[in-house]
Symmetry: C2
Subunit: 147 residues, 2 copies
Amino acid sequence: MATMTAAQKRALAKAEYDAFLAACPSRRLLDRISDKWVALILSALGGGGSRREGAGCAGEPGPMRYSELARLLAGVSQKMLTQTLRSLERDGLVTRTATPTVPVTVSYELTDLGLSLHQMMRGLKTWAETHMDDVLANREAYDGRTA
Amino acid sequence: MATMTAAQKRALAKAEYDAFLAACPSRRLLDRISDKWVALILSALGGGGSRREGAGCAGEPGPMRYSELARLLAGVSQKMLTQTLRSLERDGLVTRTATPTVPVTVSYELTDLGLSLHQMMRGLKTWAETHMDDVLANREAYDGRTA
DNA sequence: CAGGATCCCGCTAGATACTG
DNA sequence: CAGTATCTAGCGGGATCCTG
């Protein structure tokens, strides 16, 4: 049939919208930083961060080795760590440097771009620390009313 | 056996880390805003936003009806729209107002908290528009080298 | 040491149909 | 109009094993 059904029209509109979203810079940024481990890696490499205090991560920035990261981010699997690191490298947010010592040594470091992103994330963190209590309070109040 | 295996130790460390993440304000904020539709709804209700220009959304803030949102966000399913709206209401970021006219009329509006979040997201958007081109360029360069 | 390959599972977004 | 209910497929992510 030449004329479209309503369902077809909706499907088309959705496809267009999805395409629009895929190209939207803000969306892409969100997709990148909301990756489960990106924020953690960024703050590990960036120095100050969301790492709990007592864990020996005083906050000095600079390069870190693969195994250091793995130890610091206790919850990450090797797969996800590698994968995330790769994609960050691909986006020019970190640099990967392999020195061919006897057991290979690889270190990662933030680029200027990555550092800039890290700065922005700190702003986000500030908002979180300022307002998340309110959000949580609202959430409990809401749950209390419906319970 | 009373002593832990290495695997058990790792599992414990991971559990602790996960618990830490679950309580981390920044993490919670990221989880909330990275929800596929949150940013879209926020910018729809907040007025200025990531909506494409020609779509008749000039940018006036203020309350919007359920069906208006559904039309504006062409790609969203009713389920996700409702679900997202509910969770935003739960967190005190939007208000839901139902007026019992003959066909029910429901409108949503940003709270002050929601507005504050929206402001912060604009900062994020600014970063995205400033730096995402670099990221994309790096990405292409990287892909070009490995191809 | 750093990472590739593979299998597998849970979750969740989405489609569809129904309702006050 | 503004939802709710149900069912399903796809995929992100973890565990495990293997290699240069």
